[in-house]
């Protein structure tokens, strides 16, 4: 089944150039630029309402942007329809989980491969691989709407894996998970970018997870970039300490 190999651009970078997005007078993103390399994990952090989800929505075409441009390698994807952006090799998950609730776990994951032109048989094979990577083997026949919360996140990630994207944006994958579940998720995600040659962007509030998982961080506050660099570098930026890590970090 050659026809459904990932078929992506195999570009090395996802490039976001000076993106601005307004919501009726509110500047949710103010000239934000970032660069996600394949094989790396980039953490996108910032206080609530700083524009992280909006940035993901703008990159994936769910929201139109007001100015700026987005590229996968050389290919411009600015304001393309979401399904075209997905097919260009960009996957995502949602902050509020979006599963196909009346489909089984298997179908949820499989359909991502089917949408890349795989036959049902080949799609099942690909889905099974993603399902194993996320430890969902015991749940394949269940309806997604009947899953415990902690597993819903994993199905969403497995689905995105089955798309075989070059870049994957995860919006708060550890939200609502307890410490144990969140550690489990961390262990599953950590080796993926190297193994799949995938650029992974993660939004999360769990600083323990972010600091351990991410190679680089990008910090937003009120829609503006206030810091970038390795976790160690970012930790020392005064603005970041003030805006995000707060009094506790500043005092300690």
């Amino acid at each position: 089944m050659k026809d459904c190999e990932s078929g992506n651009s195999h570009a090395d970078h996802l490039i976001v150039e000076r993106v601005t997005k307004n919501f009726a007078g509110l500047r949710a993103l103010d000239s934000v630029s970032l660069n996600l390399k394949r094989g790396e994990i980039l953490g996108l952090i910032g206080p609530n309402g700083s524009g992280k989800t909006t940035l993901i929505n703008v990159i994936t075409g769910l929201l139109p942007l007001d100015s700026g441009r987005v590229f996968i390698g050389e290919v411009e994807i600015t304001n393309k329809p979401p399904y075209e952006i997905a097919r260009a090799g960009l996957g995502r998950t949602f902050q509020t989980i979006r599963l196909f609730r009346e489909l089984t776990v298997m179908e949820n994951v499989e359909v991502a491969a089917v949408s890349r032109g795989c036959s049902r048989k080949e799609a099942k094979r690909r889905a099974l691989q993603a399902i194993e990577e996320l430890g969902l083997e015991g749940w394949v026949g269940r309806l997604a709407g009947e899953l415990p919360y902690g597993l819903e996140r994993r199905v969403e990630i497995a689905r995105a894996f089955a798309l075989q994207p070059d870049f994957l944006l995860l919006d708060e994958p550890a939200a609502g998970l307890n410490e144990e579940e969140s550690d489990e998720l961390l262990n599953m995600l950590a080796p993926i970018p190297q193994r799949k040659g995938l650029g992974l962007l993660i939004v999360d509030h769990d600083m323990r997870l972010i600091m351990r998982l991410c190679h680089r961080l990008h910090v937003l506050s009120y829609g503006k970039t206030i810091g970038e660099g390795t976790p160690e570098e970012v930790r020392r930026i005064p603005q970041v300490i003030e805006a995000y890590l707060g009094k506790r970090a500043a005092g300690g």
Partner: protein
């Protein structure tokens, strides 16, 4: 050997259409052999209804969009097919102003049915792409408007429809055997469609269209495909019905019929082929029973005034109760199927001649 095993494996995981069609096939055979005229008519209508309801399920069940236009496509199929199947003499009698190029055409039944179905599919294909961009209430209202438009055209295009008057002189080709054959065939078509790549993508888009787009599904395109197939089946059903009833007017393809077909699907369960089949059977027979009660009450003079609309009111109340207490219908969205446990226990018990302990069966439908 290997392909044989693969086929067996496939059949084992797709028992639904067989489980649904075997009882219906038996019913058709028994009624054909032993039934009187009335029962034969009722069961013929049952299978035509099945074509209509399953056709509706193909789009509505898999896309989640309430489709009021379905019966409009039935009308297109009915009128188009009879224009091709009627004898030139019959056309001259009922449609004196018919376009000259249509007058001499006289095709056999099956090609006429296919042309009717294709005409409905073509109309759906042309108007569908724009409509399929809409979701939720906007889509429902627009599809309702489409029903009104199709109806208005049927009423006013007298040259080919005889206007609001009854068109007569259609040959009676739709026997019980023919309607049963197509009814059962369409069970398989509707079931298999769900399992095709397009059907799977459409079901995904029904559950969440943003998530569907995020994995590369062109939601408008898969909806459009489902809509066109659904219209094709409606057109086909319209042709079957036209050659059963043999005389009809555009009012046959309007609100009453829309309500009737919709209620069968909703009562049975929109989300599954099994629900569509069960709803069709239940409502068709219930309706006949209610009508019989209504008629005998009127004949016996039980009430001072004749009982009118008893059947419709009863079905409406049933529909409301179902929507309140079981909004996903009698069967919901799960298909009737033998699970792998059922199949294993069937083989196990036939090998050991011993009933399987019930504990092994537990939890399979959880």
């Amino acid at each position: 050997m290997k392909t044989q095993n693969a086929i067996l494996l496939w059949l084992k995981s797709h028992t639904t259409p067989f489980l649904l069609s075997i009882p219906l096939l038996l019913l058709a055979v028994l009624v054909q052999a032993f039934g009187g005229t009335l029962l034969i008519r009722i069961v013929t209508v049952l299978f035509i209804n099945l074509v209509m309801v399953l056709g509706l399920q193909v789009f509505m069940g898999n896309s989640g969009i309430l489709n009021f236009a379905h019966i409009g496509f039935m009308g297109i199929g009915a009128y188009t097919s009879v224009l091709f199947s009627m004898t030139p003499q019959a056309k001259a009698a009922t449609l004196p102003d018919l376009y000259p190029f249509l007058r001499p055409i006289h095709l056999p039944f099956l090609p006429s049915l296919l042309i009717g179905a294709l005409a409905a599919a073509l109309v759906a294909a042309l108007v569908g792409y724009a409509l399929m961009r809409l979701s939720d209430a906007a889509a429902v209202i627009t599809l309702f408007a489409l029903l009104v438009i199709i109806h208005t055209i049927l009423v006013h295009w007298s040259i080919v429809t005889n206007g609001p008057r009854t068109l007569f002189g259609v040959d009676n080709y739709t026997t019980l055997g023919i309607s049963a054959f197509f009814g059962i065939l369409i069970i398989f078509i509707a079931y298999l469609f769900k399992e095709t790549p397009v059907g799977l993508k459409l079901r995904a888009s029904r559950d969440d269209r943003y998530a569907a787009a995020s994995i590369g599904i062109n939601v408008v395109q898969v909806r459009w495909a489902g809509f066109v197939l659904s219209a094709f089946l409606a057109g086909f059903g319209g042709g079957l019905w036209a050659h059963f009833i043999t005389s009809f007017s555009p009012y046959a393809f309007y609100l009453t019929e829309t309500f009737s077909i919709l209620s069968m699907l909703v009562i049975g369960g929109t989300g599954s082929v099994s629900g569509a089949v069960v709803g069709t059977v239940v409502v068709t027979f219930l309706r006949e029973a209610l009508r019989a009660i209504e008629n005998s009450a009127n004949i016996a003079g039980l009430f001072q005034n004749n009982l009118v609309g008893f059947t419709e009111v009863f079905l409406s109340i049933l529909l409301i109760l179902i929507l309140i207490y079981r909004p996903s219908g009698i069967l919901g969205s799960r298909e009737i199927r033998l699970t792998s446990e059922d199949l294993r226990s069937v083989t196990a018990s036939s090998q050991t001649d011993r009933p399987v302990p019930s504990s092994t069966k537990e939890g399979k439908h959880v």
